[in-house]
């Protein structure tokens, strides 16, 4: 396996993400603690959190959002544009993601042309 810079931190973030998600329904306090740690590890090592993970962390209290356990997902219409609204059950903060039918809302990292090299 080729060495990647910051690989051990990525592994750590991955692991923390898993346990944070596991704890989300059981103990929101610990889930927030692990979520907070993900953000701090990424900050300390100057790494980017993958958007898939980042979108699941509550912006305010940093618990992992899972539908129907630690958060609520809802489709909403506002000004003719659809979006997904996430509500955190712990702190009650709301977050919106656009989701229109004809448009491409993927961020750069999710597009196929962003893949430079696959390391395994």
């Amino acid at each position: 396996m080729k060495k990647v810079q910051g690989n051990d931190s990525f592994q750590r973030i991955n692991y923390l993400y898993q346990i944070s998600k596991h704890m989300a329904g059981i103990n929101p306090v610990l889930s927030a603690y692990y979520g907070n740690l993900i953000v701090n590890v990424a900050k300390k090592n100057v790494l980017k959190i993958h958007p898939d993970i980042k979108r699941q962390i509550c912006k305010k209290c940093r618990t992992m959002l899972v539908d129907k356990t630690s958060g609520k997902m809802k489709m909403r219409n506002r000004n003719k544009s659809k979006h997904i609204e996430w509500t955190c059950n712990t702190c009650g903060v709301k977050r919106n993601f656009p989701a229109n039918k004809g448009k491409d809302h993927r961020v750069w990292l999710e597009r196929p042309e962003a893949v430079e090299e696959v390391i395994n």
Binding site: R12, N14, Y33, N40, V41, K43, K44, K59, C61
Partner: protein, 210 residues
């Protein structure tokens, strides 16, 4: 403090008397007038400006709010052992991938031994099964459980009887269990905040004194 108010109190009267005694005669008329001037920075002006600026809605939790949600205190009986067992399973997968345990030879023979110890100190300990082997405080010795929290100076572990115990790192020696391997770790060297530990440089030779 309106300008038309008659000067009455003791101090003001004495000030005026002092001025009348010392000011040149040509200015005597102006004394009363000058004293009744309003200054820009006086109380009167600031009262009108006291309209509070609307504070922006904060995006992060403040310390008070966190405390209200109970983010700081983990009660002794709040975590069940059965809830954290899955953490331990994920952790053993994670740590064996980190340390590349399959390639590992017997103790001391491997060339990469130094790097192996470095990786241990950089790894994450949440979810690890640990036991206190030695400690300055004898009542901690023998405590065994799954680590759920890792702070600068303590580990919080959940033991099989569903109790959360806080153990100071500094004066203890821990044993970690990874599948069928035991790893001895000196808590003294782990006294770093968990987020910072991965960036911090560890000395290649660590004195294992206690």
């Amino acid at each position: 403090m309106s300008g038309l108010e008659k000067i009455t109190d003791n101090a003001s009267v004495s000030v005026i008397k002092f001025l009348q005694a010392n000011v040149p005669k040509s200015d005597l008329v102006n004394i009363e007038k000058e004293l009744k001037k309003d200054f820009l920075l006086a109380k009167k002006k600031s009262k009108g400006q006291k309209v509070k600026k609307k504070r922006k809605k904060s995006r992060i939790l403040t310390r008070k709010e966190k405390k209200a949600l109970g983010f700081y205190a983990i009660p002794r009986d709040s975590v069940k052992y059965s809830e954290v067992v899955p953490l331990n399973q994920i952790w053993s997968d994670y740590i064996s991938q980190m340390l590349e345990l399959e390639k590992l030879g017997p103790v001391g023979t491997n060339k990469n031994w130094e790097q192996f110890t470095q990786t241990i100190y950089k790894a994450d300990f949440h979810g690890s099964m640990m036991q206190v082997v030695r400690s300055k405080c004898p009542s901690y010795v023998g405590k065994k459980g799954i680590c759920i929290m890792d702070t600068k100076n303590t580990f919080k572990i959940v033991s099989i009887d569903n109790l959360v115990t806080t153990i100071p790192k500094k004066d203890s020696v821990f044993e970690l269990y990874v599948k069928d391997i035991k790893i001895c770790v000196f808590g003294k060297h782990l006294c770093v905040r968990p987020a910072e530990r991965s960036t911090k440089k560890v000395k290649s030779y660590l004195h294992p004194d206690l």
